[in-house]
């Protein structure tokens, strides 16, 4: 990539956007894109998309690119930042719905919603640095997925800029709606490969009255998982995690598998639920302030510096055996069947990483689940497949979808399943 070529691309799009909003990447943008474009609105975005299509220039929404920045092999030519599209469009507290531009961060949105005792209960790590576009684009979720669902359950409408610069919308701002095809599902978790999301509408949930976390240490992972599932069978947990020793240590419990289970409700409900922990032996509870701090620490856990971090998804009751067989550190959303698994330090040679990942994948597939790489050391990235391969029939449909929505192949190409 010569500077001259970059200059040429940059100049071409400078005419479409306000000139000062086409620039070179800064800081963590660098592994994601070579040129950063910050359109003011969806019309500028549409012009940018048309230009990229005619020049066959790849572009990726920067939110997703940042997420993928951890694993992508080379930067995209143009990273589209939605930093200038970060407003709430409509918020009707009594409807418990909100429409916001995709460049707004989850943290900023939730600060605003909290004024009305509401929240968007999607909780990936670091909400202050997660845009709503990235949240949807990468289908990010956290501990609350157990009780509140994931992005696909809460997204009720969206707008995106598609090929030919089309301004497309699906769904709406009402909580129940079956008019037309569900474009929200198609865009959720599409990693910027089908278009650029500009606006999202969510249904919201109340912030619970009371909240606490019960903790219980276990010598064996299987006992911790067993306890988690038994507890979830008895009461409607808000979330329940099992942490391997390296992570448990960060909460002051070295050398154990730590069960962390949260309950919510009125004082009476909390009291009843606390009693349900008694069978665990050794469980103790945090006061409400410590509980919220601990939840945030749990949500924001960083797995780096790790050689590889992967996310495993299986049916919930299969998770324990699958995770145990992998012999790695983990944070498990124990009753959701989802866990982040990682190996710290460095591999002596890349082949070890390849072997490890293959072994993990084998275990995931044996449990009828799948596994995707969340992050890998830069030196390993060219050696590793980030996504599992979907079954052939499904993959064929996915390729058709990509071809239909992105015939010029410009939207974040080459980063998704099957090389899409």
């Amino acid at each position: 990539m010569t500077d001259a070529h970059l200059d040429k691309v940059e100049n071409a799009i400078r005419g479409l956007l306000d000139a000062e909003h086409v620039r070179r990447p800064r800081g963590r943008e660098a592994p994601a894109a070579r040129i950063i474009a910050e359109p003011r609105d969806s019309d500028q975005m549409a012009a940018l998309v048309r230009q990229c299509e005619s020049e066959r220039t790849a572009l990726a929404p920067l939110g997703a690119a940042r997420t993928l920045g951890e694993i992508r092999r080379a930067p995209a030519m143009i990273g589209v930042s939605l930093a200038r599209m970060d407003r709430i469009v409509t918020y009707e507290p009594e409807d418990m719905t909100v429409i916001a531009e995709a460049g707004m961060t989850l943290g900023a949105l939730n600060r605003r919603l909290a004024e009305h005792g509401q929240r968007l209960p999607l909780d990936p790590s670091n909400p202050g640095a997660t845009t709503l576009g990235a949240l949807i684009g990468a289908a990010q979720a956290g501990p609350l997925r157990l009780s509140e669902g994931t992005a696909r359950d809460l997204l009720i409408g969206l707008r995106f800029v598609g090929h030919e610069g089309r301004l497309v919308h699906g769904g709406g701002r009402v909580v129940k709606n079956v008019a037309g095809y569900d474009l929200m599902k198609v865009m959720t978790g599409s990693f910027g490969t089908l278009g650029i999301i500009t606006e999202v509408a969510f249904k919201l949930r109340p912030i619970p009255e009371g909240y606490t976390i019960g903790l219980a240490p276990f010598a064996r992972a299987s006992d911790a998982f067993g306890a988690a599932l038994r507890l979830y069978d008895a009461i409607p947990l808000v979330h329940v995690e099992v942490l391997s020793p390296a992570l448990a240590a960060r909460f002051g419990h070295p050398d154990v598998f730590l069960l962390m289970a949260a309950v919510a409700g009125s004082a009476g409900e909390l009291e009843y639920q606390r009693r349900c922990f008694s069978g665990l032996g050794g469980a103790f509870f945090l006061d409400s302030v410590r509980a919220v701090e601990t939840y945030e620490q749990l949500r924001d856990l960083e797995f780096a510096p790790a050689a590889i971090v992967a996310q495993l998804a299986t049916a919930p009751a299969e998770l324990a055996r699958c995770v145990e067989g992998m012999g790695a550190e983990f944070r498990a959303h124990a009753a959701s069947g989802v866990a982040q698994i990682f190996i710290g330090g460095e591999f002596d040679r890349p082949a070890q990483a390849v072997e490890t990942l293959a072994r993990w994948r084998g275990a995931a597939h044996a449990a009828r689940g799948h596994l995707r790489l969340l992050a890998a050391a830069p030196a390993l990235r060219s050696e590793l497949d980030f996504f599992d391969q979907p079954p052939p029939g499904a993959l064929k449909l996915m390729r058709r979808l990509k071809a239909a929505f992105d015939p010029a192949g410009i939207f974040n190409p080459g980063c998704f399943v099957g090389g899409i």
């Binding site: 409807d95 009125s266 009476g268 639920q273 998804a313």
Partner: protein, 486 residues
């Protein structure tokens, strides 16, 4: 009504096709007698009727695959059908000679309680999923009022709802995986037992695609733990304005009930005449509010709801004292449509959505339209979701009343869209509302939706002429919508 099902090219080869399909599914799996086919000429939307030329009743995925492959070789379109309880004409044949009915594929394949998953064939009746896991303390959440008859495959096609979707969500929130047979016969697996998608969420696009993606033959469903307990309240109001204000206030207080259902005066009187629930005859509106969860919290929450409703102007708030009283309230609600049948020879149920806070506005519009068109309109609906079901009373023997009933239905939908709502909350577009789609979606939206549709069905043979309006392809709505249980 012209025969919508057949096109002349395929009609000529019917006997050969019937024989070929019988080879695949057995002789008892192909129906070609006109008298038997008449049963399949419509669903719960009875305005337009058109029997298929052939009905096929497969028993296995291999049957479905074989049938769709045979149809594709001849270039013949088909309609997937479950129990035929849909309310928007989704399984009405329109230029699709063959209907493939999944009713014989009615086995529950596996109940995996440890993982809270149930795997079913798509012809399994909705209520049977809950029945299979109830003893162990679990339930399948989507509960359309037709749940004793409708199939899981039909629910997936329509993304069905029900009264309890306010808290628990609709079908798409509870389907984890499907086995889908594409037009042409290819069998694909989408999703699976895990709660994360691998690649694009094509499963999410199939749910609610109204049978245009192909035929779902199996599904993996999520089941939930039965709540420990529940409380059911009846709140009586002088008018609908105060009742809807109470709905907003309850939800704004951070309470998400299992259900909040509303009935207006016309419905109250009809229901009271039929069931003697004890509604005051002069009540302007009633709310049925049901909360569920831990016993430890319900008493207090019920009191809060009663207080909020009273502050919003409720004349009286009653708590169902026992299971008998609760059952009576739900009977009144679920059979409201039948009760309305006493008031007029015919009635047409509409399905629209507005943002919750616009409920008073849409009800004012409906009152105004009722006067303007000189037709009585009752309201019974899922207030918590803003999902309205106005019931227009008319007499089909009077053509002018029929015309007015159709027009008033369209006007109500238009008003819903203008208030930021939707054309349908749970009944689907089908053939019924194709012409209204442009009220909600711009041409580019519809183009993209068509492109999505073609991803699954490039030849357009799976349930053609549905959902997206096509020039000349729509069924002209000549009579209003009829009785529709929710």
């Amino acid at each position: 009504m012209e025969n919508l099902a057949a096109d002349s090219q395929s009609a000529a080869e019917l006997p050969a096709l019937a024989a070929e399909l019988a080879e695949i599914v057995g002789a008892d799996g192909v129906v070609s007698h006109l008298s038997e086919l008449a049963v399949y000429e419509c669903d719960g939307w009875t305005i337009a009727k058109s029997a298929p030329d052939l009905l096929v009743l497969p028993r296995t995925t291999a049957h479905v695959s074989g049938v769709l492959a045979a149809l594709e070789r001849r270039g013949i379109a088909f309609v997937p059908r479950g129990a035929g309880t849909g309310l928007s004409g989704g399984c009405l044949p329109v230029n699709a000679p063959v209907t493939v009915c999944t009713s014989r594929m009615n086995h529950i394949v596996a109940c995996d309680l440890a993982n809270r998953r149930v795997e079913v064939e798509s012809g399994v009746v909705n209520i049977n999923v809950t029945n299979a896991v109830k003893a162990a303390g679990y339930f399948y959440a989507p509960d359309p009022s037709s749940q004793a008859a409708c199939t899981i495959g039909g629910n997936i096609a329509e993304n069905s709802g029900g009264p309890h979707t306010l808290k628990y969500g609709v079908t798409t929130n509870h389907v984890l995986g499907v086995e889908l047979v594409l037009a042409g016969g290819e069998v694909v697996e989408l999703g699976g037992p895990a709660d994360e998608r691998l690649g694009y969420d094509l499963l999410g696009a199939v749910v609610g695609a109204e049978g245009t993606a192909g035929i779902v033959t199996r599904a993996t469903l999520r089941i939930l733990r039965e709540p420990q307990s529940h409380r059911t309240l009846l709140a009586i109001f002088a008018d609908v304005e105060r009742a809807t204000a109470a709905v907003s206030a309850i939800i704004a207080a951070g309470i998400i009930p299992g259900a909040i259902e509303m009935m207006d005066q016309l419905i109250i009187r009809a229901v009271e005449a039929a069931f003697k629930v004890g509604f005051p005859a002069d009540a302007g509106a009633v709310l049925i509010v049901e909360i569920d969860g831990l016993e430890a919290g319900l008493g207090e929450r019920a009191e809060r709801i009663a207080r909020i409703a009273t502050e919003a102007g409720a004349v009286e708030v009653k708590l169902a004292r026992d299971e008998g009283e609760r059952a009576l309230l739900w009977k009144a609600r679920k059979r409201a449509f039948g009760a309305v049948g006493r008031l007029a020879p015919n009635y047409a149920t509409q399905d629209g959505v507005v943002p919750r806070t616009r409920l008073p506005d849409i009800l004012r519009v409906i009152t105004m339209l009722s006067r303007h068109y000189n037709l009585a309109i009752g309201n019974v609906f899922h207030a918590g979701d803003g999902n309205i079901h106005p019931i227009v009373l008319y007499d089909e023997r009077d053509p002018d009343q029929v015309r007015r009933a159709i027009e008033v239905g369209r006007e109500i939908l238009k008003a819903c869209v203008e208030m930021g709502g939707s054309l349908t909350g749970e009944h689907g577009i089908g053939v019924e509302k194709q012409q209204e789609m442009p009220l909600l979606f711009a041409p580019e939206d519809l183009i993209v939706m068509s492109e999505l549709r073609r991803v699954f069905d490039p030849t357009g043979h799976a349930n053609p002429n549905k959902v997206i309006p096509q020039p000349g392809g729509c069924v002209e709505v000549a009579a209003p919508r009829r009785q529709a249980p929710l």
